[in-house]
Each structure stands twice: as structure tokens, then as C-alpha cells.
Symmetry: C2
Subunit: 372 residues, 2 copies
Amino acid sequence: MPADRSQGGRPTISEVAAEAGVGRATAARTLGGYGYVSPELRERVLAAAEKLGYRTNALARSMSTGVSHTLGVILADIGNPFFAGVMRGISDASRARGFDTIVLSTYERLDEEVAATDVLIDKRVDGVIIASAAVGRDEVKHIRAAMGRGIPIVLVDRAVTPLDLDTVVIDNRGAAREAVEVMISAGHRRIGFVWGPSSVSTPVTRRALLETARNVWTDGERLRGYLDALDDARIPLDPELVMTGPKTEEWATQEVARMLALPDRVTALFCTETDAVTGALRAVRAAGLSCPRDISLIGFDDSAWAAVMEPPLTMIEQPVRQLGAKAAEVLLDVLDGGEPRHEVHTLSSRLITRASVAPPGKGTFYSQQSKP
Amino acid sequence: MPADRSQGGRPTISEVAAEAGVGRATAARTLGGYGYVSPELRERVLAAAEKLGYRTNALARSMSTGVSHTLGVILADIGNPFFAGVMRGISDASRARGFDTIVLSTYERLDEEVAATDVLIDKRVDGVIIASAAVGRDEVKHIRAAMGRGIPIVLVDRAVTPLDLDTVVIDNRGAAREAVEVMISAGHRRIGFVWGPSSVSTPVTRRALLETARNVWTDGERLRGYLDALDDARIPLDPELVMTGPKTEEWATQEVARMLALPDRVTALFCTETDAVTGALRAVRAAGLSCPRDISLIGFDDSAWAAVMEPPLTMIEQPVRQLGAKAAEVLLDVLDGGEPRHEVHTLSSRLITRASVAPPGKGTFYSQQSKP
DNA sequence: CTGTTAGCGCATTCAA
DNA sequence: TTGAATGCGCTAACAG
């Protein structure tokens, strides 16, 4: 017997049927909106339902249909504006098609991701969207397990190579490359990479870099794009110009300060995240340098703030909501009976040119303490 | 018979029981973690469950217990960084106590809020957290209905006066008042209010203002705080200095431009939202004015960006996550059997003083087109 | 077209 | 302690 099911009388279909003087099936049919019911009975049922304040019990319905009309979403951090935007896209697209969403944040921890997957399986969501922190083959067991249970899954923002799943991303590598190319074209050769590989033992080799960059797919891609641009311009990689360590705004400031203090210091900064941008800017200011006179900068994830900065910042804009919306649509299409295409959908980002890039010029020759 | 319940064999408790050679009740007891089971049988059941890859069906469990361990959350917009932060607080606090969350955005539309409430009732969430767009007595029927059904509800970010519910907010009025007082102390008397009342017919009277400010509770409170500060300083309200119309960054820019073009133009701006801040800044820049030399500014919702602006912006910081966490805790306490206290929990915000406020000084005498 | 009947998977008496 | 039986509210055959 159920525990203390909350008081407020929640009439069931049987009660409505009784009130209307019809069989439960008839009531169920009209209330459930399926099967045939004569207009007169339909009216009586509706009236009874209205009178009793009947509300269908989605749980019970899911029990017998096996469909919950609920999607599970696993993100790195719902509090992060980027993921919040993605979530909005998912949410809007889902609701438009009658689905609700349960969101879980992992904070980039694999164990949390596994736990989240279990929770969603238990709650019998119809499908799952994941921005996974997994990379290696042995890190995707939970996803494979869910797939094995027949749960449709779509990846968003981050591809997971060992998995053959529908995936919605942007061309991170290309976007990064383009940004760095812009700086190179402006004449820069000492370009810092802010916020990427998380832990690398010094001295940092190119291989070690790409190795650690496995951490998060997007970071690795952006690093590759950075290297692509460097390679094309025959600029050798200087590990000193790549940030390593914790991905926090504070640490980004530290690292940029270090790059700024180098004998042959950086003249441009490529930031892979919003917090990396603000962290970098803090270091630039603290060093008494000015952007773009002394330091050029381009970063990921445009926002209203970037446009009102002095100078207005050249940024890479991601189609945040569309990323989520597309992921939801692909998933819902599968739920509607469509065949999973197992393809990678690449949405396009955009480099918004403003005023934070200039030739290295005279600024380069200022000492890093040129200002009072 | 269920529809095409996804293939991947999802073993039930009965199957596990069979595999273990025990009664279903015994299997249910060990798997459900209740009642007494001898160690040996317990072992056998666990082994069988492991072998079959058993996962409890939370839906079925909810059916018989009447508890879903799911919270419903209704916010204005999950894509908005403020609400995303609140959501993170809710999410973290809930998960820590074994609850998951279904989030729904209303975009400030009452009909969406009503629909969201219905969805949550249907899905049998155990409790609901709402940042409601409702204000008047006739706008809270859906909340009353949910309450009548015995669903615990907690309000977050926005109080709803006609309702006697646990509510978690900050002192918006006090925070606004403090900010405006700071500007007044600096010598300002022409202070613009950016982003608040949504639609007011000109001419705008003080009464009409407060009337329309009903739109969203926080807006009303912030407007009251602004008026409080003005009243205290015996500065008469000039309706021309209050923004009306759509709450978009673009419109904020328009309105501020208008205030800047006034014969006796504003010398300070109080912005109630992040987008109002950036919108205002755009207008200031476009007018060739500089902050804080010509225009002082304080706005709501501090962010990493505000600190790296030129000048660093003086902002009001809200305890975003705590707002959500506290709401979730209050709700969960009730679900744990605690009595609803029906009280308003006011968390404190903080004015972060940086450099965007200065005396009106010389800037005041510049023409609004003093720059090339 | 309508009503009867039988589950969905689990929790929970109640006897054994 | 354990197992058999019953019900949660709804959908879905099936018969009438």
C-alpha cells in the first residue's frame, strides 16, 4: 500500500468513470485521447473529469506504455552560461515536441557522469543527451551500457571518438585555427594559448600536450587548431606559451602573467573560454599593458560584454542554443521511429571581428612595466 | 500490453528472484533495501541482480510509494546566466539529498507557467520551486491549485504577495536603494533607472510606474528602492529618467540614448539587469561619453566581465547559487516531514565597489557629442 | 463503439 | 525470516 500519498484528493480514471457513469476504459480513452468514444459519452467524461479536477498520472501512463516523454541531459555544469544556453536549446526543442527534461551536471567528473547515467536509466527517460567528459575506450562503458539497454543517445558539444553516435558539435579545430591565423596575419608570432591542457609535466612537449589535451574533447580540438595555424605559418611551438594547470580564471591570470614576463614575451593571446578571456585580461591590465596596442586577443564564446569592452573584443561566437536544439531534434527524430544516422552534425561558429587584434607594432618594445 | 518497450533486456525483480531461486518479495527487499533478509539469500539475490544487470525501475517504485524523488523547477529562462546559477544551486542541493530535477522555462509568460505547473503535477514531482511571473490574486490560481493537491511549493527569487509560501529572495529594494544612495552621495541628482517597468503610457506618473512595475516582483522592488533613495535625498522623481518598454539590450540602449540627449541629461545610471548594463554602456559609448568621467553606473548582477571592464564596474552581487540551494533545502526539509514555515528567507546581496562611480564633475558640462 | 480483463514492476500487508 | 497475494493508475487487447 502506498505510503502517505499526499492528501489533496487526486481522482483516478476510475473515479471519473464512475462519476460519468461509464466504464473505465471509456473514460481512459477520452482522457487519454486514443480510441473511439461517442460524443455524448465523451462529453460526460470530460465534465466529470473537470468536476473532479482530474489530472492524468504520467507515471502510471509511463508504466504501461513504456514511454516517459522525458529526456535526460548530462552536462558539465548547468551553471555555466555556455551549457545554460545549450540547455535552453534542448529545453525549447523538447517541449515543442512534448518532452520534458531532467538535467544533471557532472563538473567534468567521470564518476558523476556514470552516476547520472544510472539515474536516468532508472527513471526510464526515453533518450539521453550528453556532453561527455569521456574520451578513451575504457571511459565509455556507461554509455555503451545505456546503448545496450536500447536507450537512444546523442552527444552534444563534445564528440567521443570511440563511440559511433549521433553527435552535434561545432568545428572547434577550424574555429581555433581561424582565430590564430588572424593573429598571425596581423604579424604575431608569439601567441599564447590560454586554458587548455590541464596537467602537463614540464618540460612540455608537443606530444605531451596533445596527450593531456585528451581531457576534454573541445580543448583538444582547439589546441589542434592552434597548432595547425602555427604549423602553416612555420612558427615552431613554444610550450612556454601554452597554459597548463587548473582551469580557473585565477590560474589563467597567473599563466598569462608568466607569459607576459617572458624575455620574448607573448604579443597575442588565444583564449579557449570566457573565463580564460577575463583571466587573461586581468593579467594584461596588471602588467600595465594595453589591448590591442601591446597585446592582441581573441577568445571563445562571444557575449554582450565582449562588445562593450574597451576595446571591443574579437570573439568566436558559437551557436549555443542551436547546438542544444539540434541535439534534441536528432534525438527526438530517433524516438519518433527514425533510424539513428550515427553521424556528426557540425554547426558553424563565427569569428566576430571587433577591435582586439592589431599588429604587434610598437607595443612589443615596451617593457612589461611601462606603466606607472 | 506495453508498446515496443525498448529491446535491451531490462530484467525485473521477478526475474532476479527466479535467477536467485527466491521469492520476489525477498528479492524486492534486498534490492529495495528495506525489510529483513538473511545474509545468504541477500548474497544470492545480489549476485543474480549483478549477473542479469538489474536496475530498479524508478517509475514502478514511484507508482507504489507515491514518491518520485524528483523536484520540479519553474524558472523564467534557464538560458539566462542568473537563473542558470540559481538552477545550479537547486541542482546541487537536490542531488546531495537524492533528488533529481525537471526544469521548465516560462519566459515570463503566465500561460507557460500554468502549463509547466500542470506538467509537473502530472509527472508527480514531490515538490516544486518557482520563480513566478505571477503577481496579482487572480494570477496565482495554478499555484493555489497545486497547493490544494498537497504539493509543497517554495518560491525563489520572486515573492508572490498574495501567497503564504516559503520564499527565498534577496533584499532587492534595499540593494537598489544602497546603490542609488552611493550615486547620490557622489553628488548625482539626475539618475536614470534602466530596465524596469515594461509598459507605461506617457506621461509616466509615479503611480503608473509602481503600477506597471507589478510585472515582475524584482523589478518592482528595485524601482521602489530607487524611489526610496530619491525620496530620502528629496530628489523629485523625473519620469523621463525611467526606462519603459521592452526589456531588451537594444531598447535599453535606445532609452539611455534618450536620457543622454535630454537638455538636463542623466549623469548616472542604475541598471537592474546585466543586459541593461551592456545596453546602457553601448549608449554611453555611442554618445562619446566616458564612464565614470561623464556617466557613473551601477548595475545588478556582478560577473567576471564587470571586473575587467574599463573602468571596472561597481556592481551588485547576488548570492545566486545560494538562492537556489536554500530554496531546495527548504523544500526538501518539508518533504522530509518538516512543517512548512511559510516564511520569507532573505539572503544578502553585496555592493562591490569598483570604479564606475565618480562625482558628476566636469563631465557634466560636456556636450553629448564632445567626441569625434 | 463500449466495457471487461489483464498486466507494467515494485512495495507491502499477512500467513506460513 | 520468507513468500504469496494485492494494489498503485493507466493502457491495451479482446469480447460484446
